[in-house]
Amino acid sequence: MIDIFQDAPLRIAGREFASRLLVGTGKYRDFDETGEAIAASGAEVVTFAVRRTNLGQDAAAPNLLDVVSPERYTLLPNTAGCYTAKDAVRTCRLARELLDGHNLVKLEVLGDDTTLYPDVVETLAAAETLINDGFDVMVYTSDDPIVARELERLGCCAVMPLGSLIGSGHGIQNPHNIRLIIEQAAVPVLVDAGIGTASEAALAMELGCDGVLMNSAIAHARQPLLMASAMKQAVQAGREAFLAGRMPRRQSAEPSSPLAGRINA
């Protein structure tokens, strides 16, 4: 069989990935389910959060990084839960120490705890500080094309607009804005947040996104492992459809079979 599909790798800050699906590690039942779902998703880039160590806990208790090892995956520390540029920068520096100098981070600075909408003012300030400090910054942002452009100008290595609110599963609410962001960007654009099911991941890729980042859609599915597999295929299908180029939309029907040679002609 001829291999018709030879995609270029996803390139982020000099790193290359065959998979265009990036996944989070939150909200799973336990570490076993986390590890199995991530394996089923085929993801190579995996996000995690940085939190205070529970003091007094069993020191031999399993650690997330035992299941999602830095040897097997590209770990992407996320500043989730930070509401100021200062806290986000501190969190990234702690993560870099935690991962022995690994400098790729997901910057996310939130505006309030009901919408979890990005605070773009704080995000811009944090991005500038982190880039000056040598970080490669993948940045979570709103679907505002002007903000996306400014984050790229500051030197962010990937721009990641929300499809809809974090954890909402409302899919991509403004595909036109996502397309505007993609059209102007020279760095990878990934939809991050809002994806609820496979068709929405495929839509992100059909719009021309370079990748999709998700957590809840897999972790909160009734069967996370099956959804992880569905998402893997959806992202690939959407990518192939984007590269193939969709047919034009028409106002009227057009038969697929020739009109000539019909038996009653």
């Binding site: 940085v50 990084l65 120490e97």
Partner: protein, 66 residues
């Protein structure tokens, strides 16, 4: 002496090093990161970094997240 460890007061022997604190917590060799007064203390200098009265120490690790 008393320090603030992950937001809570904790009593420590005078002049204890970061390495000593980490050891006392049973976290030696674990994947953690340490910050003292909002500055990272790299693993390579845990042994030689002395804590002082009133220091604010954060010890963090990786957990599941998006």
């Amino acid at each position: 002496m008393q320090i603030q460890l992950n937001g809570e007061a904790r009593t420590l022997e005078a002049d204890a090093s970061v390495a000593r604190l980490v050891e006392a917590l049973g976290l030696t060799g674990r994947r953690i990161a340490v910050e003292v007064n909002e500055e990272i203390v790299p693993k390579s200098v845990h042994a030689e970094t002395r804590l002082a009265e009133g220091d604010r120490v954060e010890i963090v690790h990786a957990i599941g997240g998006g």
